[in-house]
Amino acid sequence: MSAFSNLLIPAVLFFALGFIARLIKSDLRFPPDLAKILSIYLLVSIGLHGGVELARADLGEALAAVFWAFALGLLLPVIGYGLLLATRRVDSLDAAAIAAHYGSVSAGTFLTAIAFLGSQGVDYERYPLIMLAVMESPAIVVGLLLATWSRGRLAAADPERVAARTERGNGGMAEILREAFTNGSVVLLVGSMLIGAIANPKAMESLHPFTTDIFMGMLCLFLLEMGMEAARRFGDFRRVGLVLGGFGVVMPLLGGLIGVMIGHSILGFGVGGTTLVAVLGASASYIAVPPAMRLAVPEANPSFYLTLSLGVTFPFNVVVGIPVYYHLALLMAGGT
């Protein structure tokens, strides 16, 4: 029943509407800036909420959450990289770029999960909001390290090909770190979180109608557009093939499972919080990581990582994944 009720959440229905609009070749189009505007709005709003929670949070618990967010962000890309190389469908630079996406998160998926929990009447811990803000950057860094390492191996195998590259480089480690942590959406999310934490609480209340009341509507519009975008990318599925497409489903399940374990067993969250940590593990970035990879791993083909993250994993999570992670979390909670 709860799996079905997922499909009665307006946000999910709007996602489906967008997806279907493309499938039936409707000429529905969003102005190109609308998705960008909505995503700025969503990041600022989640950031402010997270900040208010941060200010109230127990320091020890918050630090544990941040630590495990980092750990997830570092671990998942490595697992993904291994899996991708094992498929033998992409070269190692593509694998590095794709893997980085899975260590990071998708705010759209996370927010849909919150709407899902709301519709189930399930309460949740607020720490995952902080984890969301933390998880963008580590995955970028790991992705770039994997790419550098791959490039080294390729250079050893075929010195000609990557000569130009290693010679000029793409900035050293310091530059990589700077770019990972000054990424636009990281700055927006972390900055808003800090503002939410330090700003005058009364002034914060005056923001409530903007950041909270109209939030669901903005999320619906965003998912409508993302549904169209996902369908557009899904159309590139042929390029990606079945095996790689399978990765786009297996990897979130794996990430979700690891997330459930961390959320339940390590962080000790309830069913709601555990579901959200699972979603952090399962979801793949389509906003922060792609530009970072495009800049730093130009050899990787963006149609691979965009198709997987946006065309496969995103719809999978929104429609199937979230209820699955929720049931896993229920199982774990029952099992203790």
Partner: protein, 107 residues
């Protein structure tokens, strides 16, 4: 007759993630300015729908005195060599007020 002088118009089309890098390159090559247009498209790297930060293209136009062309093309070639996908083409144009294009931008 009009004071129309022949110069080169170089157009670069690529992902707008490279904006800062291309602008820096224009300065290095002594351009007097540059113009950026937002674009979409498709090519070897697939569809660039223009809806996401990562799949928006930019189209850069720069007018250069002919003698600065080689330097610019060298730099663009180097960028392509490191793996970036750039669509680059050069056209002959006749400009009004050619001195304007000979003064490099302030750094």
């Amino acid at each position: 007759m009009h004071r129309l002088y022949p110069q080169k118009l170089v157009t670069v089309i690529t992902t707008d993630v490279l904006e800062d890098r291309l602008v820096a390159l224009m300065r290095r090559c002594g351009a007097s300015g540059y113009t950026l247009l937002r674009a979409r498209g498709a090519g070897a790297e697939g569809l660039q729908s223009g809806n996401l930060d990562v799949d928006t293209n930019l189209l850069l136009k720069v007018i250069l005195p002919t003698e600065r062309l080689t330097g610019l093309l060298d730099e663009l070639d180097a960028l392509i060599g490191t793996g970036y996908h750039l669509t680059v083409f050069v056209a002959d144009v006749a400009v009004l007020g050619h001195e304007k294009f000979e003064r490099p931008m302030l750094a």
